[in-house]
Structures are given as structure tokens and as C-alpha cells.
Symmetry: C2
Subunit: 139 residues, 2 copies
């Protein structure tokens, strides 16, 4: 996604554009699609933005999330952020810890949900197992 997509989304939600926010945007853009913790982002950008703190990174990620450009999910006791806002599965390898996006046919799931009478705004699918690379017969 273009930088302006993030900037415009922030503006639309009445958030200000700060250098710190731009640095985080550049980070997630250049690592998309991917999965980040606040701490990971903090560690990666603090050379570029030496006064930034972890609390600010959390604040920025919350703003990005409110403006709709970032999604989150919780697993293993921490919160993960991602730029892939389409419905998909997040496969977490129990061996190496890597997270992979898995395309999912949304219809099969959403069909059931609508029938429940609840208004669904957001869906998060977490899968756990052993990834391709960690399977014993991996070549």
C-alpha cells in the first residue's frame, strides 16, 4: 500500500501526522505483509527515531488500528499487528514461532455467522501447528 493510504486514513479519523507516525508507517509498509509486535517495531526504529518510546509505539499502533489500516490479534501472551486487513488465517508454527498468512474462503465462514443474528464487525482466525519448513519430511 502507498504511504498516502496510511496518511489519508489517519487524517480521515482526525489523527495528526507526526514524524514518529510516519516512521512506523514506513516500517510496516516495508515489511508488509507481515506480523509485528510493538516491541519489534520499537527496536527496529529506535535508531532512526532515537527518542521514541515503547508507549508511543503502542499509541501509534492504536491510531493506525482505529483508522483501519492495521489489524491485531493476540497469541502467546502478546499482541500482534498486521497490515493485511482482508479476512485470512494466521498460522502460528508451534516449533519455530513464525506466522504465515493463509488465504481463507470467507463465504464458508460468514454464511454461518450472519445466521446467528449478531452483527459481526471483525473476524480473526488463528491456526496452530507445525509449518511446512519444520515438518520432519521437509526437503
Amino acid at each position: 500500500m502507498e504511504r498516502d493510504y496510511y496518511i489519508d486514513s489517519l487524517k480521515k479519523s482526525n489523527f495528526k501526522i507526526t514524524p514518529q507516525r510516519l516512521t512506523v508507517i514506513d516500517y510496516v509498509r516495508s515489511h508488509s505483509p507481515g506480523h509485528f509486535t510493538a516491541e519489534e517495531i520499537f527496536n527496529s526504529i529506535k535508531s532512526e527515531e532515537p527518542t521514541i518510546t515503547l508507549a508511543t509505539v503502542y499509541n501509534i499502533l492504536k491510531a493506525l488500528q482505529s483508522s483501519g489500516t492495521v489489524k491485531t490479534f493476540e497469541t502467546g501472551g502478546s499482541t500482534w499487528f498486521e497490515t493485511n486487513t482482508d479476512f485470512h488465517g494466521n498460522f502460528v508454527c508451534s516449533n519455530c514461532g513464525k506466522i504465515y498468512d493463509i488465504d481463507i474462503d470467507e463465504k464458508g465462514i460468514l454464511g454461518n455467522i450472519e445466521g446467528s443474528g449478531n452483527s459481526v464487525q471483525e473476524a480473526t482466525l488463528i491456526l496452530r501447528g507445525i509449518c511446512k519448513e519444520c515438518l520432519p519430511d521437509h526437503d
Copy 2:
């Protein structure tokens, strides 16, 4: 589920049967299907088991999970436990906080996953929105 289902599952996984474990089993059995935090269980059973601590409840829930009778998912910064081990969605109402089980057709999802080459052991689907009861036009 019967009490023996939990007991036998624990034994099969080489866990011992303690009075504290039976108390937790009775609690989840009498609240099934449902969604519990460790603290909720702790608060509910401490009158019956006055010396128990939160750490022990966590320990017991971990044993139940390893023996396959309890599943967990994380949301809102805490871990939820449930006895419904079949694949299903957990709908979390952003307004009242209640959690509802939603039946999901597993095939639509698993079809995609198998194709990815990873070995999936477990799937958790979390849905967020406004529940039936909280919708403005609720009668």
C-alpha cells in the same frame, strides 16, 4: 460431559486426581458450554476450596488443556477457557462483553488450510461485533 470424561482424560495424560482438580472440573461442567477466565473460576470456587490460589487454578487449567478437555483463546488481554473443543467461532460482543459460541462449517475453512502444506493442529476463530441483545432494534 460426564465427570469421568475429565478424570479419565487427566489419567490418560498421567495427571493426578486432586480435590482441587475435581472442584475445577465440577465448576466447568456445571457451566458448560461457557467461557471462563482463571480468575472467574478462582473467585467462584474459593468458598468451596478456601486454600486454593490463582496460581493453582492456572496450573489445573493447563493440565485440563493438555489432557484435551479444555481449549483456550486470548482476547482483551486475558486468556479464556472453554469446554467446547469442537471447532466453532467465539463471538465477543464489543458492547456487553458476553461471548457466544457460533457453529461454523469446518470444511470451508479447513479446505484452504490443508492446501498450504502446513500441519494444522488447532484453530481458533474470534468474532467481534454487537450481539443480538445489544443491537439497537432488539425487541
